[in-house]
């Protein structure tokens, strides 16, 4: 059984190594001749005005929350879709009810204006 996961394991290892190498290859083999101008945050660009460690807006939280809710919905649809032909009309109605309940929430969120960015 675990043999079937060997390709995934290989891909994981390759991805990790690839990521580490690409993130650091510049540091390893690049020439380093720093000057004040080169070391500024944006070379030839605007001066940064304040710290980047700022509080995020709550709106990002809302987006992430919406994402999770519909993510879970999709996960629920997956086993249903695999079995769709065998389940027939009954399964279709069940999933429709499931989606409709969520659509109620979606409409509510929409009408509340939670999807508006500003």
């Amino acid at each position: 059984m675990i043999d079937q996961y060997v390709p995934i394991g290989i891909m994981m290892v390759v991805a990790i190594v690839f990521g580490i190498v690409l993130a650091n290859i510049n540091k390893w083999i690049g020439p380093k001749r720093p000057s004040d101008e080169k070391l500024s945050t944006y070379e030839s660009g605007m001066e940064p005005v304040k710290t980047a460690r700022e509080r995020f807006s709550i709106k990002f939280y809302m987006v992430a929350m919406l994402f999770i809710v519909f993510d879970i919905e999709i996960v629920f649809m997956y086993p249903w879709a695999v079995k769709f032909k065998e389940l027939g009309l009954f399964g279709f109605v069940e999933m429709t009810v499931f989606i409709l309940i969520l659509v109620v929430g979606f409409v509510y969120v929409w009408r509340k204006g939670a999807l508006k960015w500003d």
């Binding site: 993510d71 997956y78 086993p79 389940l87 069940e94 929430g105 509510y108 969120v109």
Partner: protein
């Protein structure tokens, strides 16, 4: 199954070590990122338990969704770096009770599975997705629909939560 054991120990090690970092790290953001490896290790353990669909779900929802939510939660807080985490001992008696109950349950579980020294031979591997789909649509229909109500509640709660904050 030699490879199986190696894989189990590697992933169990990753899970436990990163869980320790989550708990003991002084920086909230390190804790949040370390949680990534914990979730991932748990997903791998699910795979080793022949629960492939649960493993995919774990990666998709916990690693892809909940972790992002937590990172946003961390970034929403006032201080990200140099937070003074208080690690005093509080509520000793209730904590002791709770820990002993949990430890007793786990110990009993260990004991009851340890007794049969030979594990039953693992069934031939097949994807659990089809079985899950069938069960979800027939025997476990009510929990399935209740799950959608739960998601609805989460959606409305998030809407209320975010709206109140933006107004003030």
């Amino acid at each position: 199954m030699e490879l199986f054991d190696i894989a189990f120990f590697v992933f169990a090690f990753i899970t436990v070590v990163s869980a320790f970092i989550v708990v003991f790290s002084k920086s909230v953001i390190y804790s949040a990122f370390s949680l990534l490896f914990t979730f991932f290790g748990v997903a791998a353990l699910y795979v080793l338990l022949h629960a492939d669909f649960i493993a995919v779900t774990q990666v998709l929802i916990y690693v892809g969704g909940i972790l992002v939510l937590m990172l946003f939660g961390v970034m929403l807080t006032n201080k990200i770096v140099n937070v003074e985490l208080k690690t005093g001992t509080l509520h000793t008696i209730p904590a002791l009770l709770l820990v002993s109950v949990v430890a007793g349950t786990l110990g009993g579980l260990f004991y009851s599975t340890w007794k049969g020294d030979v594990a039953p031979p693992p069934p031939p591997f097949e994807s659990t997705t089809k079985t899950l789909g069938e069960m979800l649509m027939t025997s476990y229909l009510l929990p399935f629909e209740i799950a959608s109500v739960l998601l609805l509640v989460a959606l409305m709660g998030a809407a209320m939560f975010a709206r109140r904050r933006t107004k003030t």
